[in-house]
């Protein structure tokens, strides 16, 4: 009896790279990789050659040169004597401010509108539909310009507040001035001892968080529920309030007042900032509302019916049964909307808001002529911020997912 003969071993031929399924996959990948690298190399090479032809080099030294221009909204100290790098940083902070505030407003609005669109009340549901369709289907640039135009055209100039019988007056006991250059709020001024107050406030918040955890645990163990909201609010407000009066009111308010051409002091929210933030928030909230609606509708109807048969009230059903399940569906697409809002904030130049596109990618680029470098830095910045936001929310998302036992 002879041993089973092995199939005759074929000698390797070059054509087998494409004809043989064992090698084809690998060889196609190698070819794709080579083509990709060749195109990439060509682009880089071409850029370098063209720059050389224009007698230009690639250098980031301009970031350490004097900027020479002023920026109206600064979250950190900056003057025209600061460097282009500082100007870029001022812009970056302005971008992050709009993105942060915009995302918060968009989320809150989106949640409300999304839930209300499912309301059984016909008028409420239709109003919310109109809101969503109106904001979602018009380009965000138009909304930004529109909100800005409303803010500047229909509000009084600071001069209107002048004189014995002014055309315009300040609101809320002369504390808030709405003008065509922005809205002025009273600013808190911290006197000596105010830091103890902040410390006390911080401790109160931490304590109330522990209380809520304790209440949740107790409810889980015994089924008894404590008045979480009331107790924690009292815990946060009262100690600080008592300390505030005990220390002789170390925090006072600085009211805006009219001096010369403009209002002085107080917190100045410029119309460019308001218009950009509000328009982006409204626009994005329409998308978030649809995501929320989809998330809620994806929770099986049996869930709410079962909850109702247990005797839970409608808002309890929403907050205890439906939203926790809907969140699993809502959160992942929410990320892309946050990213969109952040990236759309680069439309700021339309209303003269000095974000990073306006400083680094606008004035600095123009004054130094470093287009390539500025654009690379800008792309790097938006990429980094987007990746940070998505990894941050992905981290939270994991805690919402069903834990399989």
């Amino acid at each position: 009896m002879s041993a089973p003969s092995l199939p005759p071993s074929e000698s390797f031929k070059l054509s087998m790279l494409l004809s043989d399924t064992r090698y084809r996959g690998m060889s196609l990948q190698v070819i794709t990789f080579i083509v990709f690298m060749a195109v990439f190399f060509w682009l880089v090479d071409n850029t370098i050659k063209n720059l050389a032809l224009l007698d230009k080099d690639v250098s980031f030294n301009f970031l350490w040169l004097r900027a020479g221009y002023d920026i109206n909204q600064r979250l950190i100290p900056y003057t025209s004597d600061s460097t282009h790098g500082m100007a870029a940083l001022v812009g970056i902070l302005n971008t992050l401010l709009v993105a942060f505030i915009g995302c918060i407003i968009a989320t809150v609005l989106g949640l409300f509108v999304g839930i209300l669109r499912l309301s059984k009340n016909w008028i409420v549901a239709k109003l919310m539909s109109a809101y969503i369709e109106g904001f979602r289907n018009v380009p965000v640039l138009l909304w930004i310009v529109m909100v800005f135009a409303l803010l500047t055209e229909f509000t009084p100039a600071p001069r209107a507040f002048k004189g014995a019988e002014p055309e315009a007056t300040m609101l809320f006991f002369d504390s808030v001035a709405i003008t065509n250059r922005g809205t002025y709020f009273p600013a808190p001024v911290l006197a000596e001892g105010a830091y103890w107050l902040l410390l006390c406030f911080g401790f109160s918040i931490v304590a109330s968080i522990y209380f809520i955890r304790y209440a949740n645990k107790k409810k889980k163990d015994t089924g008894k529920s404590l008045p979480k909201f009331w107790v924690s609010s009292v815990m946060i407000v009262f100690p600080t309030l008592i300390l505030f009066f005990a220390m002789g009111q170390p925090v006072s308010l600085e009211y805006p007042y009219l001096k010369g051409f403009n209002f002085k002091d107080g917190i100045h929210l410029r119309n460019s900032f308001l218009a950009l933030t509000l328009a982006l928030a409204f626009y994005t909230s329409a998308f978030i509302a649809e995501i929320v609606r989809a998330g809620i509708m994806a929770v099986s109807r049996g869930q709410s019916e079962a909850a109702a048969s247990l005797g839970l009230r409608p808002n309890k059903i929403m907050s205890l049964i439906i939203l926790p399940q809907a969140l699993r569906i809502i959160v992942p697409p929410l990320i892309s909307n946050y990213l969109n809002l952040t990236k759309n904030s680069s439309l700021a130049i339309a209303v003269g808001y000095m974000d990073v596109r306006g400083t680094l990618g606008g004035i600095t680029l123009n004054q130094t002529g470093r287009e390539l470098e500025s654009m690379l830095l800008l792309m790097g910045f938006y990429l980094a911020v987007s990746l940070l936001i998505s990894s941050f929310i992905n981290y939270f998302n994991r805690s919402f997912q069903i834990v399989v036992r």
Binding site: A38, K56, D70, N72, N180, F261, G352, T368
Partner: protein, 337 residues
């Protein structure tokens, strides 16, 4: 196969690499001149009621097109905001930039541009509403100022307020139209840019008399056309078309009388109009009668000034330093020989 691929690659790279060498040849091959102008600066570059581009900078480009093609209409105007103009020029989107651009050291050197001369000596001014009661820029402490981004005026403004110990709040805008709108809406107290543009803007407002251009001029703003570094022949053509317009005014050659100089004894006029024997314009690759066509297109420098900025235009800017040196100004062209 491999050879072909790398051959194509090399060809593409070189083709893209050589795009900026002979601008004149490119322009001739295309059949028209691409001229970068302002998106709307009254007197310098606007569109009239019939949809035709008009203005001081526009007329310069028409003269250049006439010099190259013999046809002042063989030019396509590309509206550029102050922020994108240099990028557009560097990237080859336009052949020449005539967009009331200030000639500065860093633009000349670091931005790799070649300025062809000065076609308008300007300075930065401020416009305010008369009802504000402001008579001088020194009274502007604390004012909100509308300003176009990416301009020299932005830097002058920062320097001027700092020197005088005054504070201000800048409101950045993209172009003249937006600045004007913000200024009228009262979102800023004053609008600052080149004085010529302020005068041009003011006469086009609904009630020009309600607005005042303050007397102070806080900077030197020599405006002129410019091209990319690296093509000196193209720069020479642009420079000498501008000089030809200035010389024409000096010699009294106008659009109307340009044909009556055939018998003049002035050799420079013969060289300029191509009516003599020697053909010096061949040196830069232009036809013999190129400058004749350029002057014929919109008249000499003085006529272009009058039609777009002077009394005829309604903007009423005085010639001032922009008069020919023979009339007390500082316009002085090198000799055409």
């Amino acid at each position: 196969m491999k050879k072909l691929f790398f051959g194509v690659l090399a060809a593409l790279t070189f083709a893209a690499g050589g795009a900026f060498a002979g601008t004149l040849d490119d322009v001739k091959a295309r059949g028209n001149l691409l001229c970068g102008v302002s998106t709307g600066a009254p007197g310098f570059a606007t569109v009239d009621d019939s949809g035709k581009d008009v203005g001081f900078d526009v007329d310069y480009c028409r003269a250049l097109a006439a010099a190259i093609f013999g046809d002042p209409m063989a030019v396509k105007f590309v509206g550029l905001t102050s922020a994108v103009r240099f990028t557009a020029l560097a990237a080859g989107e336009v052949d020449i930039l005539a967009r009331n651009t200030t000639w500065t050291y860093s633009r000349d050197t670091d931005l790799k541009q070649t300025f062809l001369g000065v076609n308008y000596y300007d300075g930065q001014g401020f416009m305010v509403k008369k009802e504000l009661g402001v008579k001088s820029t020194t009274e502007l402490d604390g004012a909100t100022v509308c300003i176009q981004v990416g301009t020299t005026t932005e830097l002058n403004l920062a320097d001027y307020f700092k020197e005088n110990g005054m504070s201000y709040e800048p409101v950045p805008t993209a172009d003249n139209a937006e600045s004007q709108q913000q200024y009228l809406a009262g979102a800023c107290d004053t609008y600052t840019t080149d004085a010529s543009a302020l005068h041009g803007t003011r006469v086009n407002l609904e009630n020009p008399d309600d607005h005042l251009v303050l007397p102070e001029i806080i900077s030197k703003e020599p405006l002129g056309p410019l091209v990319r570094h690296g093509d000196d022949n193209w720069a020479d053509i642009g420079r000498w078309v501008l000089n030809a317009l200035v010389i024409a005014e000096e010699k009294g050659i106008t659009k109307a009388n340009i044909d009556s100089w055939k018998d003049t004894k002035d050799a420079e006029i013969h060289r300029l109009l191509g009516t003599g024997d020697d053909d010096i314009l061949a040196m830069v690759g232009l036809p013999k009668n190129a400058m004749y066509n350029a002057i014929k297109a919109g008249g000499n420098y003085g006529e272009i000034f009058e039609n777009n900025l002077g009394a005829t235009s309604g903007i009423n800017i005085e010639r001032g330093v922009n008069a020919s040196w023979t009339k007390g100004g500082i316009l002085y062209s090198p000799p055409f020989r």
